[in-house]
Amino acid sequence: MQSKRLGWILLAPTLVILFFFGVLPFFYVVYVSFHSWNPFAVNPEMVFNGADNFRKIVFDTAFLKSIGVTVMFVVFAVLSELIIGYALAQAFMRDFPGKAIFRTIHTLPLIMAPIIVGSVWKLMTTPSIGIIPHYLEEWFGLTMNIGTSAPAAFATVVLMDIWHWTPLVTLTLIAALVSLPPDPFEQAQIDGAGKRQIFWHITLPMIAPAVVATVFIRLMDALRTVDEVWMLTGGGPGSATRFVGVHIFKEVFPKTNYGYGSTISVIVLYLTIVSCWLLYVTMLAPRSKRG
């Protein structure tokens, strides 16, 4: 009884902070999403308009397009980060000269703020002064201008995200690989299993929870990417890199449409939760059913 009370007392500060900074703002956003509210307009009152914002959102082509662009970005970025991160994690499991230095350098992007990453990549990709367009033209004769070419802008944003976040995936997968017991691998080798069989039937099932956790983190991060993209392309050219986070920013800040912006946020939260839940169900939940 005493320990139970002590447990609640120790938990209380966290729960209070979580309530005021997590739960309460969430319910407030849901509340605002059912209102029409422009606090800088002539009438700054919050007016209840039922589900009108949700009626509007399903026909909002700019929003639907931004969802499509975001999904494409998430698929390309997260898949690439997972594949490259796994390959690097496997490389770091072996010894090679300069491993410690390489691992440190490889982790450096992680400590950079996204806005800095955006500005560095903007410098590197600006046609007149950037190193990337310069060498692309000198070596391959290619012209790169992310201000006018939509595919180039999209590819650059994906590359920037991969460069920034692959180290996180690598570190998580290294932790998972290090904790694997050696016995199943030795047994599989004795039984004559090939590298591919060992990967699909032993390594991947054993690191699946870590992979899913990493994908959760990256998926949630990628779905709300704003600052890097805002700095690099500003959502352009056209709407090529207008991800849903950028769309919400443009709706809420320049247009000061707080009610509709909250509705978009609620829908994005819904999509994020549903995609994470589907991922969990497909990768982890069936196992608990069999168990």
Partner: protein, 83 residues
């Protein structure tokens, strides 16, 4: 007087006493193992998806959103009770 050879060993009895009861788990129609919170969550997810679908494709033809809500409530009841 009972025959001592027919009685189970003391260690077996002890193990039986300490072992957790193995009861057949109730299985619903959902393809995954769920508790009541999971089923409420699934119901809310379906409710929102159906409402958005209704707004986009059905409501412009006339039927009110309340029909969608009634369908969602019925589905939620079935999922929570029998899922």
């Amino acid at each position: 007087m009972s025959n001592p050879h027919q009685e189970p060993l003391v260690s077996v009895l002890h193990e039986e006493e300490n072992s957790p009861d193995i009861l057949p788990k109730p299985t619903g129609f959902l393809p995954i193992e769920t508790n009541w919170f999971d089923r409420v969550f699934i119901s809310v997810v379906i409710w929102i998806a159906l409402s958005l679908f209704w707004f986009r494709f059905i409501e412009p033809m006339g039927p009110s959103i309340w029909i969608s809500n009634a369908i969602s409530a019925a589905l939620a009841f079935i999922i929570v009770k029998k899922g």
